[in-house]
């Protein structure tokens, strides 16, 4: 299990990086934490001509606070985000999702952006970003653009990122005071990818749902949101949770070695209800 031959480049500046991707992006792979890419390289599933190690690009290390969102640079590590008091305060859903991502040993180098760019449909962070309505910042030699999470993911491991683009940062919408969050996951072992995960963001006032976003990982080719607009204006409670979780019947998951289609649907319903009960209860937010 050894990778094919590849050249290696280690830009220090974003401009160097985008220049490199401009000229060689088609045959290159960006290397961040390497926790996902390394296995694919070692198994020779991917055979790039060039590995672009972005770990030394200083400007990608930063976390910045904008009014509406927390912007995490492409090199912000999962472990650092997990330990960050600011993230816990401002983006609690990310904090909750992170505790399910891999292990102590993988979060240390694994990046938030790498997980987003990797676009595994069972991954937690793409789900959290989608439910939050966050966005991905991309840069190429000529221009930068911001893509909303709900249009970023195309299918397993495929996104709208073009080969000459690098994800420079992720925008995680800052929590509003009246927002509540829940993240529930079912995995077969500690640290495994989700069989199914559910993330939820809600605004509830005086026992009435004002706004609700509900999304899933592990049930489709990308993280997906379920249309639960009917819940707005309804009173919170088990009845509503049941009604919403009944909607998960519409999901069309695929079976794999570890979970049948029906079972994934079942998990989606069970986790949905649990997540909703988390946000319906008066606690500010609840994570599992």
């Amino acid at each position: 299990m050894k990778p094919v031959k590849f050249a290696y480049a280690r830009p220090q500046e974003l401009s160097e990086l985008t220049e490199l991707l401009h000229s060689e992006g088609e045959d290159a792979r960006i290397l961040a934490g390497g926790l996902s890419l390394g296995a694919m390289l070692n198994m020779r599933l991917v055979t790039p001509r060039l590995l672009v190690d972005i770990n030394h690009v200083q400007t990608l290390q930063r976390t910045q606070n904008a009014a509406e969102y927390v912007q995490t640079g492409a090199l912000v590590r999962q472990a650092d985000a997990l330990l960050s008091p600011e993230i816990a305060r401002d983006v609690p859903l990310l904090r909750a999702a992170l505790s399910h991502v891999g292990h102590f040993q993988t979060r240390s180098r694994g990046t938030l952006a790498g997980s987003i760019a990797h676009a595994d449909p069972s991954a937690e962070l793409p789900l959290a970003l989608t439910v939050l309505g966050g966005a991905i910042e991309l840069a190429s030699r000529r221009r930068s653009r911001v893509v909303n999470a709900d249009s970023f993911f195309l299918s397993p491991l495929r996104t709208v990122r073009r080969p000459d683009e690098v994800v420079t940062a992720i925008r995680w919408p800052r929590r509003r005071n009246d927002e509540r969050f829940a993240f529930r996951e079912f995995a077969l072992r500690a640290g495994d990818y989700a069989v199914v995960a559910v993330a939820c963001k809600a605004r509830v006032a005086k026992g009435v749902v004002e706004d609700l976003r509900l999304g899933f990982a592990g049930v489709a080719d990308t993280p997906i949101l379920l249309d639960v607009s009917f819940a707005c204006g309804e009173r919170t409670g088990e009845g509503l949770a049941d009604a919403i979780s009944a909607r998960t019947k519409a999901l069309e998951p695929t079976a794999d070695l570890h979970a049948s289609r029906d079972y994934r649907r079942q998990l989606a319903a069970v986790l949905t209800k649990a997540a909703l009960m988390d946000v319906f209860t008066p606690k500010l937010e609840s994570v599992s």
């Binding site: 299990m1 050894k2 990778p3 094919v4 031959k5 088609e26 792979r29 996902s36 296995a39 694919m40 198994m43 020779r44 599933l45 991917v46 055979t47 790039p48 990797h118 676009a119 595994d120 449909p121 195309l154 299918s155 397993p156 491991l157 495929r158 080969p163 079912f186 077969l188 072992r189 500690a190 640290g191 495994d192 990818y193 069989v195 080719d221 695929t254 079976a255 794999d256 070695l257 570890h258 979970a259 049948s260 289609r261 029906d262 079972y263 079942q266 998990l267 069970v270």
Partner: protein, 994 residues
Amino acid sequence: METQESWIGRSIPRKEDPALLTGAARYMDDLSPVEGIRYAAILRSPHGHAEILKIDVSAAEAMPGVTGVVTGDDVARLSQPLANLFGLKMTYYPCARDRVRYYGEPVAVVVADNRYIAEDALDAISIEYRPLQAVVDPEDSTASSAPLLHEALASNVVHSRSFRYGEPETIFATAKHLTSIKTHYPRVASTPMETFGVIAHFQSAPDRYTVWSNFQGPFTMYPLMCAALKVPSPRVRLISPPASGGSFGIKQAIYPYIVLLAVASRKLGVPIKWTEDRLEHLAASSCASDRVVEMTGAFTKEGKLEAIAIKQLENVGAYLRPPEPAGLYRFHATLSGPYDVRHFTVENRAVVTNQMPSGLNRGYGGAQYCYPLERLMQRAAAELNIDPVELRRRNLIPTAAFPYECISGGLLESGDYQGALDLALRKFGIDEMRRMRDEARASGRLFGVGVACSVEAAGSNLAYVNLALTGEQRAGRLPKSGGSSTSSLTIDALGGIVVRIDGAPAGQGHETVVAQIVAEEIGVSPDDVTVMTELDTLRDSWSVSSGNYANRFSTTVVGAVGLAARAAATKLRRIAAPLLDVEPEAVVLRNGKAHASGGKNVAVSIRSLAAKSHWDTGGLPEGVSAGISETATMTQLGKDVDEQDRLRSAVTYSFQCDLAAVEVDRQTGSVNILKYVTVHDAGRLLNPQLADGQIWGGFAHGLGAAMLERVVYGRDGTLLSTTFVDYMCPTAVEIPPFEIGHVTSPSPNTLFGAKGLGDGCSMLTPAVIANALDDALGIPDLAPPFTPDRMWSLLSGLSPDADKGPRDSATRETTLPFADGGTVLKGGDELDLAAPPEQVWRLLFDVEAMQRILPGCKDLAETEPDHFAATIVIDIAGIGGEYVADIRIREKDEPRQATLVSNVSGRLGFGQGSATVTLSPLDDGARTRLAYRYEARVGGKVAGIGHRLLGSVVRVVLGEFFGALEEQIAAKPSGLLRRLRRRARLLAKAILSR
């Protein structure tokens, strides 16, 4: 005179640990024993079953850094096929020649300057295969319609034998109650953290092979290697490294690889190192057989089990690799386990299928037998309305009955089974657990308590393999029986004590225990004893039964060490006696000194006695030879199989009783193990902490088998559990609360009264958990692993494998989940196109247009009418490469319907598929409705590793294909091609990533 506590029976810290903890220990891959080593990589079959039409290694051989390539033809030229037990015409070389029979079977070996280059060269070998129908299910494989794996054999059933003990017909005819079950115990693999490794070095004049390998015995495999390599002993010299990263029996199966690498070294004239990688290990090292068992028990009204009818079908994989089918016979001498039953019928069969050959795996043949037997007990208890614990109690061999001779020959020499059961119940808190169960049930929860018992053999009698042979077959052969171990102990002129053993340990702490025994016998501290566990067949004493398996250590190896130590002690006493002025019998060895017993306060150090034995040979008492160098052999009890097919198949038997309480979550199917207790009667514990360590470890394996692990093949023979992501070993979080208890009934058959406990829970835990689940759910048909998905399916009244494909599993416990392999993709859709059918037709089937819409198409040629050859670049998220596609158009009905049949193959795998496209006019023919249905089979690496994502990959590809078609119809001019090349590329390529 100071007293000295006994070293035996103490939990002293391990001698092995300092080197292991500091990174100083040397394992197989750490060795570079000779200069000029080159590195091997092995090309393996991506097919479960296929004919090899052509192998072209020229490009690989021409690569810089490549020493050479070895193929099946070389192997056939330079070696003999590996033998099988029955002399069947099943040509088994360690490298396939014209046919591959399992996913991962070696087809070529590349040797190069390093592993990286060797793997590059693997990619440069081109092989043409013709896929054959595969069979992976053992029952399917017995059918006359099943594809035959070995042409020279009439059937895939390679072994069948039946046995009868007592008067089973009479008992069954008059039995008050019959309980029947059928189970299919799945394949699991112990997956030691260190994979296989071999360094093979061929030297000529005379031809000989020196091999370093973490092979751990049994050395009954050694003669097979010599025969295959066509050299007499000792011209295969096997050397095991000082440290081993675990074996659990699995490393028995290295021997074909030793032959393969030895042949490679011979052909290429260089020493060669091969370190198996994890993907190779999971695909093609070895694993436990899976077994289908039908059992019927004849019970009295009171629940006394009187007779058992047993039918076993063992899936040994693609070749009957020795010692298989011995797994069927390891428990044959104790057919009723710990219970007193005198009447049996047994029908055993072994069948070959397109799975990797099976072999030793922790508790060899044990789990496959304990599972049905203990499920039978559980079902009988339920049917007879007797408490399952009480049913055990009524059937366990009573303490007064020891030594108990089983009807099939096993001798259970001592034990207190009832006492162990009592202790287990106490530790478990059975009443409290039952109360909890009642409470839980009252509130609608699914709570169950399970019990199971077993005996565990230690120190195999070599003859048990012979049970697979009929009396006539045996008659023509050299008798086999018993077994032995040899150990030598030397004390040098400075008093340094060195002990050698033939145990080839793999982490169990044998160095420590051996030092304890020697310390005890010659009155020194274990710190003073150096234990050599490396085994060199040219230098050290070894025998066919040498190695690390079947709890051989605590019985036979320890016995040999004890005898050697006693011989050394005797000699020390004789040398000391005149110096202390007493008779040798009156010399006591203690605390590094020889003392005179009986109050005399004189002593002489053992070191000076040793010095004397070397420096002052003239001053030794008469009849005492110089130096201290004692070699002793422990000869095991046991005769060959007798005419009635009875055999005493092991030196000693321990007993084990386990209890578990589980709760099942109705909603998610998760099984929560609330409490687990295991009690062992393993005789005297030589080092209790290490004994418990073995029990813990066995439990982790049993738990893995019960809850998570399974070797899974698709119907087409593609392995699906190819990585550590899909072959799921438990982590620290998955280990439930676990308690151990001991009862001690020393064995009269071993020197220190020890029995075995290394297999323990690895054999029994799946049965205990199944019984607890049965108790909780009342569902009799249960097959491990009890994953949430499978449990939930059961609770929902679905088959555990529902919707992974059709399978009539209502009545049987089944293990193979993907009825259709999970590698079969089916689908279809419709779309409306803004062009008349004729135009759509042309776009679909005209060469040039086709070239434009086939995503990633590099070139396409119509080789004959309606037959196309294409090169396409398949690339999904960078995963892929160049593929060769052969496309035929069939059943053409222009412009209405056509079927495309294609074969695609490339580096990451292959696919065969067909798609039917139907065009119907819309709006009076101005537009067209295109409907398609497809079915594709995908195999190879991509299916094995990326099966999870294949479906969506196909959807992506189809989406892009039809997207391109639509764009063509909309006739967007230039730039299209470029965009297609870049964005949309074709067909299946999936992924791992995890």
